[in-house]
């Protein structure tokens, strides 16, 4: 249709593809390139570094030797005082050996993993139950529930940030560290649950009911039929939904900033990276290396998911 038969058409086609792919990948190439460059090389428009610099990665992954910080002699004297409790000594020593410039990337990554994997798991369980119910069982009020799910699915987080924050404040959760973390966890479940239900609902509808019926004829209860027939058949979709929910949690910034900004030890990657960017420790190669490392798990998940997704690619298309 695009006249690919003649030489001119072929060349035009190849150029168009090349432009498209470059447009899509240029920012990624820029991140990778800058993360590997030495500072003197940043202004060089070429994407290929003059020499490879892995310092930023080493630093983020904690592979560099911890710099020995000299404890001043006066302080050392205090530390040698036998009257001081061991605890206090440690606290004082920590003050002098702590490296403020360090960006504890591993900790942030662990936080992100806990939040997004945890929320995605809960979300998957609830959405399997909910999606089966509204797609397979018949009861009054089903249509209303279906439409409500679709509605809440499209209400963005921005409209909920003030009331959710105030609710958390009213019940006293927002003022403590664990309370805030718990709130954020619940919010991630809520943000991913509708998309999971939507995708799974569409999928369950495509599984022939006769299969379940056969299992029930053989003496399975409905519950057993779900576990033994429907779920195994849906494995690829379950994986896709899980990955999808995981990505949503991994990428989330708004609520993390509302609830966790004041608790640096619980920062997730998006929040930590943004804080790093606006702080005095922002150096391009460090930021870019952190970006690459934040990106990597998602790219891997995506490549895994796209293998599962061959069939119903647009199922998740309405959510982002």
């Amino acid at each position: 249709m695009l006249g690919k038969k003649n030489i001119k058409g072929r060349i035009g086609f190849a150029i168009a593809i090349l432009l498209l792919v470059s447009f899509s990948l240029l920012p990624f190439a820029q991140i990778l390139s800058t993360s590997l460059k030495h500072q003197y090389d940043w202004g060089n428009p070429s994407l290929i570094p003059q020499s490879i610099n892995l310092d930023a990665y080493k630093e983020l992954l904690g592979l560099t030797e911890a710099e020995k910080v000299e404890i001043p002699a006066a302080i050392q004297k205090i530390l040698n005082n036998p009257k001081l409790s061991a605890e206090k000594k440690q606290a004082i020593a920590a003050k002098y050996t702590a490296n403020d410039n360090l960006f504890p990337f591993g900790k942030y990554m662990l936080n992100s993993v806990i939040f997004s994997v945890g929320a995605a798991s809960f979300s998957l369980v609830f959405s399997v139950m909910g999606a089966y119910s509204i797609s397979r069982l018949r009861f009054k009020g089903q249509v209303v529930i279906q439409r409500s799910v679709l509605f809440v699915y499209m209400v963005g987080g921005v409209l909920l940030m003030v009331p959710l924050y105030q609710m958390a404040m009213n019940v006293g959760l927002a003022s403590s560290l664990w309370g805030s973390a718990f709130c954020l966890f619940l919010i991630y479940i809520v943000q991913t649950l509708p998309v999971g239900m939507y995708m799974l609902g569409n999928y369950f509808r495509g599984i022939p009911f006769a299969l379940e019926e056969a299992a029930m004829m053989d003496g399975c209860s409905r519950k057993e039929a779900i576990i033994k027939v429907v779920l195994p058949l849906s494995l690829p979709m379950l994986a896709t939904v899980f990955i999808y929910c995981f990505i949503i949690g991994w990428n989330e910034y708004l609520f993390a900033s509302v609830f966790l900004k004041q608790y640096p030890e619980f920062h997730t990657l998006p929040l930590a990276l943004q804080e790093l960017f606006v702080s005095k420790n922002a150096i391009w190669d460090r930021i870019m290396a952190a970006s690459m490392l934040t990106l990597a798990p998602i790219v891997i998940c995506f490549l895994l998911a796209s293998r599962f997704m061959k069939g119903g690619k647009t199922d998740g298309g309405v959510k982002e």
Binding site: M1, L2, K4, F13, A16, I17, L20, S24, L26, P27, F28, I31, W42, P45, F126, M129, Y132, I134, L137, R138, Q142, I145, Q146, R147, L150, F151, M154, V155, G156, V158, L159, L160, M161, V162, P163, L164, N170, L186, I187, V190, L193, P194, I247, W250, N251, P270, F277, W284, I287, M288, T294, L295, I298, F302, S306, K313, T314, G317, V318, E320
Partner: protein, 287 residues
């Protein structure tokens, strides 16, 4: 109702109950609570004083609110048109199988799945006034601009950077939606049109476009719904572009905090959003 049906209904409710509880408590209730809050002067620590419709009066007499509406409108216009056109172009280009299509597909889907927080830094670097490739290209190489400029630093040009960013990030999903419809158009229709004497362009307007009408409307509506509330993509790339969500965020959590005013802004925005969603459910939904 037979006992069997009743058992099925009970089972159905049991399965969906946790979902209803969670969504009700954390989405539907907050939306209503938000309306309630919009009539109060709300402090960050949770204390409230009733002020009637004062928040709405304050909001509607605030010129910043109108400029946020204008910015949002431009943002929506730019992103909806851009994403739909690019998505359509991509779908037409990649419709027929060719060698390496899988790889090309993976490459163009990448922006869509990548975390916003990572890719914004790449974009910021590209537009950096000192080291950025964009300035290098337009100033040093092509000579189109007389001097290097900070495109993201200036809110007027930053808006268009943000629009371009959104197109880059979300054209892939438009592409997937359009492609799935495009491949279902039968060859016969094209052959019939060819016999009628239509060239490639004529066939596009007489066969492809009418067939795609519905899916294009879907794409436009979905972009409107998602982009009206888009926060991260704008705030993290260029916090100086004040679309409505960012305006609300600033009211609620930074500077002179006025959560009641933010609630009022959200209420109005929910009203507009509900119209879009109503359209979507009525006209497009497959459920």
């Amino acid at each position: 109702m037979t006992p069997l049906e009743r058992a099925e209904a009970r089972f159905g409710w049991k399965l969906v109950a946790p979902t209803i509880a969670i969504l009700g408590l954390l989405i539907l209730y907050p939306l209503m609570y938000n309306v309630y809050l919009s009539f109060f002067d709300v402090q960050l620590n949770g204390s409230k004083t009733f002020v009637g419709i004062e928040n709405y009066i304050k909001l509607l007499s605030n010129s910043d609110y109108y400029s946020a509406i204008a910015t949002t409108s431009l943002y929506l216009l730019g992103t909806v048109v851009g994403t739909t056109l690019l998505g359509l172009a991509m779908a037409l280009l990649l419709r027929d199988p060719f060698m390496g299509r899988g790889l090309v597909n993976a490459a163009i889907m990448l922006p869509y799945v990548a975390p916003v927080i990572s890719v914004v830094f790449g974009w910021q670097f590209l537009f950096d006034p000192i080291s950025g490739v964009v300035n290098y290209l337009f100033v040093d190489l092509l000579g189109l601009w007389s001097e290097r400029s900070n495109l993201i630093g200036d809110p007027d040009s930053a808006l268009w950077v943000v629009v371009l960013f959104d197109i880059w990030k979300h054209a892939p999903i438009a592409y997937l939606l359009i492609l799935s419809k495009l491949v279902s158009i039968s060859r016969d229709q094209y052959e019939a049109a060819a016999i009628d004497g239509y060239g490639p362009i004529g066939r596009f307007f007489h066969v492809t476009l009418p067939e795609l009408y519905f899916v294009l409307a879907t794409v436009v509506l979905l972009r409107l719904i998602w982009n009206l509330n888009r926060f991260e993509d704008v705030y993290l790339l260029a916090p100086n572009v004040e679309t409505l969500p960012i305006f609300t965020y600033y009211q609620a959590f930074t500077g002179v905090i006025d959560q009641g005013l933010a609630a009022a802004t959200s209420v109005i925005q929910l009203g507009v959003l509900s119209i879009f969603i109503w359209f979507y459910i009525k006209k497009i939904m497959k459920w």
